[in-house]
Symmetry: C2
Subunit: 336 residues, 2 copies
Amino acid sequence: MSRYIKGGTVITDTLPSIVSYGTAVGRMEGEGPLGSCFDYVSEDSGFGENTWEKAESRLQQHAFEQALLRGGIAESDISFVFAGDLLNQCTGSAYSMRNNGLRFIGLYGACSTMAESLCMASVFADNSVGALCAALTSSHFCSAERQFRFPETYGGQRPPTSQWTATASGCAIVGAHSDPPYIRALTVGTIVDMGIKDANNMGAAMAPAAYDTIKTHFENTGTKPEDYDLILTGDLGFVGSEILRDLFLQDGVTLGERYDDCGLMLFDRETQDVHAGGSGCGCSASVLCGHILPGVKSGKLKNVLFAATGALMSTTLVQQGESIPGISHCVHISFE
Amino acid sequence: MSRYIKGGTVITDTLPSIVSYGTAVGRMEGEGPLGSCFDYVSEDSGFGENTWEKAESRLQQHAFEQALLRGGIAESDISFVFAGDLLNQCTGSAYSMRNNGLRFIGLYGACSTMAESLCMASVFADNSVGALCAALTSSHFCSAERQFRFPETYGGQRPPTSQWTATASGCAIVGAHSDPPYIRALTVGTIVDMGIKDANNMGAAMAPAAYDTIKTHFENTGTKPEDYDLILTGDLGFVGSEILRDLFLQDGVTLGERYDDCGLMLFDRETQDVHAGGSGCGCSASVLCGHILPGVKSGKLKNVLFAATGALMSTTLVQQGESIPGISHCVHISFE
């Protein structure tokens, strides 16, 4: 049974296991530094579909199927699917899961959705509400570009602070305590808006939310950065990561080498033209499920604090001159 | 502690209480048959804001504040807020809750969101994950019209099957067992798509999902229609409600007088020009929190099965010729 502390922090006393995980990515992600980690790399960015939106749903299905396959899990054994994505009305997830008979809980946390879904799946699993709960999310560069910025064919200029939406999906399946990785604790975030209005600088908009959630998690659990091998934000990218380091430095806390960001890990910024780094729900989902969870499973990583970050904006609100609220949820994943 | 049955059904063994609720609506909803039930009726559809999107966020804040007020609850006593709405990237909820320090879990279930958020809040409360959990959602006619259909000033022709998005918001706060109303059980829905492609006939798109969820709930809990005073769908409207009755009739089950639909209750279809009835996340939320919960609290209603329904489409996918997936989640709310 879960133990609620305060300020959004939940201690999962049964230590639920992440019993399986799967990933699917596009070609560019497959060519990146983590390319060999992914279960499914598509040469075709359309994933065999005739629109980008349907391509994203197909991509998400691949990640889900890979998670089932790795765990030897029948689809019908999944009690609940917690899923979401960036598309308007979260259609990436809805169309990926339609008519499969699975119980579906749609989430929206922008690029924080992988942590949000993992939080929900963990709370359900920790309290035996269902046997196996899937946390699933995706993003697709082309569907995101045309929805949030410009049509793909327009060839708009991208400023240096902009990030590159990953064509990627990840799925983690959480169940009762068995083998590692384990979920030890989690902190649900609060919406932080520090007044950033530049839709091409999501990292700056999200960094204060990541700071708030990670700091709250440290306080509520009595842990400190040294207790983790890796503190991993979702996709702050280069700009947001530096802001996060600075915010902690103001408290006298040096994140140092133990800190990294999924947006900086998925692509090689030297050779891949992604400006400030990767982003999108699928960025942190694929890095977590493709690279981090295998590391915890093998014991190479003992304690990871995974804090995906999301910018809760819409183009409409940005056009109305509104600033961009950010949110971050974090999950402590451990080997022991 | 919750007891998971199968097929998305959870029995809440501690019987969490809905400790408070609040509503806010626009003028037209205030002039409808349930007008006197609502806590806050605004004469100004802009709710003092200069855009429809900001108006919706303000509307949602009013419902949330009314729920706090009725329950004598301090905002800081809310452990988690489960919220969502119809706007792209769920900005109605994100902007309504930003910078208030509350732990926020963003949901997307289209017009099923009130039931979805109530399901999540109930599972959390039943397992003592947090003390008080808010379920909150909203919709606004003007923000929805321009996003999903035409600009307000265009004056597009509406077909008879179309529904009228309610300008309304409702909030229910769930906590540990105390006074009624109680949450007894819930069933999380699955995504059902029977091939309806007409975005002006949401009722038809959603009815099969409502049928699936309610039928599953009956089966998994061993209950039948006669066990409920009221079986209430979210916003199937006139067309979808008739389809739902027909689907049950094919099983030899007559829903009869005990069945009603929030979309048919919020407005008077004789005198208010809403075609097939009301819709929008706020429709079922305001009817539930303004009319039904007080009825259960007083004992006038003993057992209500609340099944909000959502159409998980986006304009993009509809334009691509895709059919419209529906989902419905249901919650059994009782006096005893």
